[in-house]
Amino acid sequence: MRRADRRPVAGAQGRRGPSRRGLLRITFSWLLWLGFAALGAVAGLWAAATARFLFPNALKEPPQRFKVGFPADYPPAHVESRFKDEHGVWVVHGTYRGQAQIYALSSVCTHLGCITIWQEEQKRFKCPCHGSAFYMDGINYEGPAPRPLERYAIRIADDGQLEVDKSRTYQEELGQWHDPDSYVPT
């Protein structure tokens, strides 16, 4: 279509235009509001879903403090594996620097956080990820682990049972194993 042909048509529409254009404007603004409302609703739902996602469906944390039986239950040179699955703790009656003690070792390898295995025949805690090994007293001697296993606080509770407190840890390389809270002498 040539430009000369188009102009009169545009003019003809222009004469009747205002009412139709007004209708269009009202419809358009309605659609605009609707669209933004839908967008807002979706964004709100999405934000709510994200916020909900931050809270886990189930949260079962074993207590930080728990009783592990009487000191007499632990014969010398014994590693108790009963509390490993639930609490991640080895309760050991061993020696540290010549002193017989009961202490609670974390089962988490100090290299990269894998869970160690107690191997009774070799008398060692062995990490299956990179082969680090620890003596019964928790001192690292094999593989890449840079420091000994950590100890948790342990004490004799009022009823005479041993009580482990996982909220406090003691690191050998920082000289914290001399802290009387980190072991029970036997």
Partner: protein, 444 residues
């Protein structure tokens, strides 16, 4: 799904494997027949055709033997010798020696007569080794099958690139241009390249689907936060990193070295002062770059993946290729730090101890004094050695590159070299850390 015959008894295992092994040998024989046809028609080489025909007949014979229930079996003494000889030290040093031999003898080694024979020998060894239950179990684990494929793919592509480089180098020595300089005919992206890509995508999809039907993904029991499987292996492409974690502090092996690998690869175009070898295969014109690539990619990254895949077993101990994966294998791997070597073994004195009540500067002073040997050695390796090299062996390179580029390049190269050096020191002398300051979580 491939159902491996009962592993319980070795005789039953071999008997059950006889059929598949027979087909395997017949397949290799067919491969050799194809090579014979290619040698006659395309390469017009009678000698090669005769050799491939003979090898094909030998493999066909092995296939018949296997199908009649008598597959080729490696003798026990040979397997024991392999297990004893293939420790980490011999494997690593052997691989390095192999790379040096490949570099020096590349003109001979890429010849079809040599390389195809090498392929045949490796396929023969593979077939004979599959009669060993421990080898078969290791190689056929769904996690390890792709690594076996990767070994052959890498060998093929290394051969392909080197063969073209050798051909170009001969032409360049005669004063002709590289073969690629004659590539003047251009083709259109659409449809030529896009069609090839489409077909490639379809073939890859079909291969993946068939593969996943034959060998199901190795799913394990649900994760248990209280139990870590023994051994716990990373995905194959991270096994190199997992292996590095054994010899360095987690921060160094897990963060610093991977970052340096990526940064170093990015820096190569800016460090490389050699303008030649652009757009064509060549070794003679890029000796240094090629050697560093072979060492860094095949000699470090791939080697570490192979060690992690095939040699590491329960407790992360080393196992030979035909050795049972016994979780109670005792391996003496007691760690000794350099400071313990220095003070206790060489000087015969006690390692300086940090008194618990000391703090601040006094503590730092004692720690630095304790680590004096490691710190001196590190300084010598990263500062003195490059400076000496710049005046002696690498003088021409230092002049061509300028100070900044030379130092950046040599530091990256020394970092690379540090890895096999520390691995071998760890295996032979049980050295754990050169500098070990657990008080501040710093270990080198």
């Amino acid at each position: 799904m491939i159902d491996w015959p009962h592993y319980a008894s070795e005789e039953g295992f071999v008997a059950g494997l006889a059929g598949p092994l027979g087909w395997y040998y017949l397949g290799v024989a067919a491969l050799n027949l194809g090579a014979m046809w290619y040698a006659l028609r395309r390469r017009r080489s009678r000698l090669e055709a005769v050799v491939w025909a003979l090898m094909g007949m030998a493999f066909a014979g092995l296939g018949g033997l296997a199908m009649s229930g008598h597959p080729l079996v490696l003798p026990e003494w040979l397997k024991d010798a392999c297990d004893r000889a293939l420790g980490p030290v011999t494997f690593t040093l052997g691989a390095m020696a192999g790379l040096v031999i490949f570099y020096l003898g590349r003109r001979v080694l890429v010849q079809p007569l040599v390389s195809w024979t090498a392929l045949n020998v490796s396929l023969l060894l593979m077939g004979a080794s599959m009669t060993d239950p421990d080898f078969a179990r290791t190689v056929s684990r769904p996690d390890n099958v792709p690594i076996v494929g990767m070994v052959y793919l890498l060998a093929f592509f290394t051969w392909l690139g080197t063969a073209q480089a050798v051909r170009n180098d001969e032409r360049l020595r005669r004063g002709q241009g590289p073969v690629e300089a004659g590539f003047t005919d251009k083709v259109l992206v659409w449809p030529d390249v896009v069609y090839i890509e489409l077909i490639g995508a379809i073939v890859a999809t079909v291969v993946l689907v068939v593969w996943s039907l034959l060998i199901p993904a190795p799913l394990e029991e649900p994760a248990n936060p209280a139990v870590t499987p023994n051994p716990s292996k990373a995905p194959w492409y991270f096994l190199g990193l997992q292996e590095m974690l054994l010899y360095f502090d987690p921060a160094v092996a897990g963060v610093v070295l991977p970052a340096l690998i990526i940064l170093g690869l990015m820096a190569i175009p800016y460090l490389d002062p050699n303008p030649r070898g652009s757009g064509y295969y060549t070794v003679d014109q890029r000796r240094f770059g090629w050697a560093v690539f072979l060492f860094g990619f095949l000699g470090l990254w791939i080697l570490l993946i192979l060690i992690g895949t095939f040699m590491r077993g329960p407790n992360w101990s080393f196992f030979g290729p035909y050795e049972p994966r016994d979780p109670h294998k005792i391996a003496a791997a007691t760690n000794i730090k350099l400071c313990e070597y220095f003070w206790a073994v060489w000087l015969g004195r006690g390692v300086p101890r940090v008194p618990p009540e000391s703090g601040g500067l006094q503590k730092l002073g004692i720690i630095l004094w304790r680590e004096i040997a490691g710190l001196t050695l590190t300084c010598a390796y990263f500062v003195v050695l490059p400076a000496v090299l710049a005046r002696t062996a690498l003088r021409r390179m230092r002049q061509a590159m300028g100070r900044a580029r030379y130092w950046l390049m040599i530091l990256l190269l020394l970092m690379m070299l540090m890895l096999p050096l520390k691995m071998i020191l760890n295996w032979t002398a049980h050295l754990s850390y050169i500098v070990s300051i657990p008080e501040y979580s710093f270990n080198l």
